[in-house]
């Protein structure tokens, strides 16, 4: 799982289940803040998956999550994560 949360720059972050991503690029192309890009790495099925490269721009709007046909990515606002799952917080 890729998570840029520890850097805590933007208002939100994304969580990617890299194993089930099929590299379709919807999230990357339709992220309003253009903060996702393909990884250099690929998963066991041979797909490149999205990586949050400009975490300071991520608002946690979850549009990526809404587009994803594979339910492999979702976005969340930090303020919503607080109190939910402490382990993802720095």
């Amino acid at each position: 799982m890729t998570c840029e949360a520890p850097l805590r720059k933007g208002r939100g972050t994304v969580f990617v289940q890299t194993k089930i991503c099929k590299g379709c690029s919807y999230c990357i192309d339709f992220c309003p803040a253009h903060c996702l890009e393909f990884s250099r790495d690929f998963n066991s099925r041979g797909y490149h998956y999205p990586v949050l490269v400009r975490s300071e721009d991520c608002t946690g709007c979850d549009l990526c999550g809404l587009y994803c046909p594979d339910f492999a990515i979702f976005g969340a606002k930090f303020k919503d994560l607080e109190g939910q799952n402490q382990s993802v917080m720095p």
């Binding site: 379709c24 809404l66 994803c68 046909p69």
Partner: protein, 288 residues
């Protein structure tokens, strides 16, 4: 390492069957994404929601949703859903199937389901093709598009689905594309709350077959086309919303009207015929 966090939508899916079989860039998954969000916001008791699909790529939706789900025969989800709903009107029944399944082999059933105003929601993922079987022409394939059974380009006139639905009496008719995720999810939410025959057409890419054979790029390229060429016209005359090959796409909520459902008509009629002696059928299943 941080723990794997899965999408909050996962509990609504049969996780033991993920990842699903749809191709990379196939929009069906996105429509399911919208549908799950609509379910989450609908306030419905999900034990009472049933999904019925036919055969085809979109027909596989039933197998991935963690609801009472029925993967029936080709073209026949609507009559199955009719039986399911009428036998237990307390269920919220959603038919989720593809353009070929619902409008070629299933065309007759669509017409009658709408005519009767069966209280079911029909989500049609229209990818202009028969995907599962390798990309044959469908009744929605635009003129000129190449498909395996129209190898020199389609010369057969396609359906204008919202027009058909409207003409048959559907009470809610909307078309969105999988680019319009927010609107699609909202339409599905409205559809779930609506009484009567609801029809939502969701245009989706089929990158492996329709797009590839017509050199339209991949899924994202189709979404970019949807974005560029869609025009939102709520309340448009459904006669005018026909589609053409890579042409303008009119999207929006076209029809939203009230009509008594089949069961309501039945109960009302029998009450007037039999008076006190008749116990309304729907009453036995009325939600508390």
């Amino acid at each position: 390492m941080d723990p794997e966090l899965e999408s909050p939508l996962m509990p609504y899916l049969r996780q033991d069957r993920m990842p699903h079989i749809w191709c990379p860039g196939c929009g069906i998954g996105t429509t399911v994404n919208c549908f799950v969000r609509a379910l989450m916001e609908s306030g419905l008791n999900l034990d009472q929601v049933a999904v019925v699909s036919g055969i085809g790529c979109t027909g596989r939706v039933a197998g991935y949703l963690k609801l009472d789900s029925f993967h029936t025969t080709h073209g026949r989800p609507i009559p199955f859903a009719t039986g399911l709903k009428l036998a237990n009107p307390g269920l919220k029944v959603v038919v989720y199937s593809g353009d070929g399944d619902l409008f070629a082999i299933g065309g007759n059933h669509f017409v009658h389901g709408a005519r009767r105003n069966m209280d079911i929601m029909v989500i049609c993922v229209n990818n202009y093709t028969y995907g599962m079987t390798g990309g044959q022409a469908a009744p929605t394939t635009p003129l000129g598009a190449v498909q395996t059974t129209m190898p020199f380009g389609n010369f057969e006139n396609p359906f204008n689905l919202p027009f058909l639905a409207d003409a048959c009496g559907a009470v809610y008719v909307a078309r969105w594309t999988v680019y319009h995720v927010r609107q699609l999810a909202r339409a599905m939410k409205e559809g779930l709350a609506k009484k009567g025959f609801v029809f939502i057409e969701a245009l989706s890419p089929c990158p492996t077959l329709y797009s590839r054979r017509n050199r339209l790029g991949d899924g994202v390229d189709q979404l970019k086309y949807y974005k560029a060429k869609s025009i939102i016209k709520d309340g448009a005359d459904t006669k005018e919303v026909g589609l053409s090959f890579q042409g303008e796409i009119i999207v929006g909520k076209f029809v939203d009207r009230e009509r008594p459902t089949w069961l309501e008509s039945m109960d009302k009629h029998y009450s007037s015929v039999f008076g006190e002696k008749y116990k309304p059928y729907g009453a036995a299943y009325a939600k508390a």
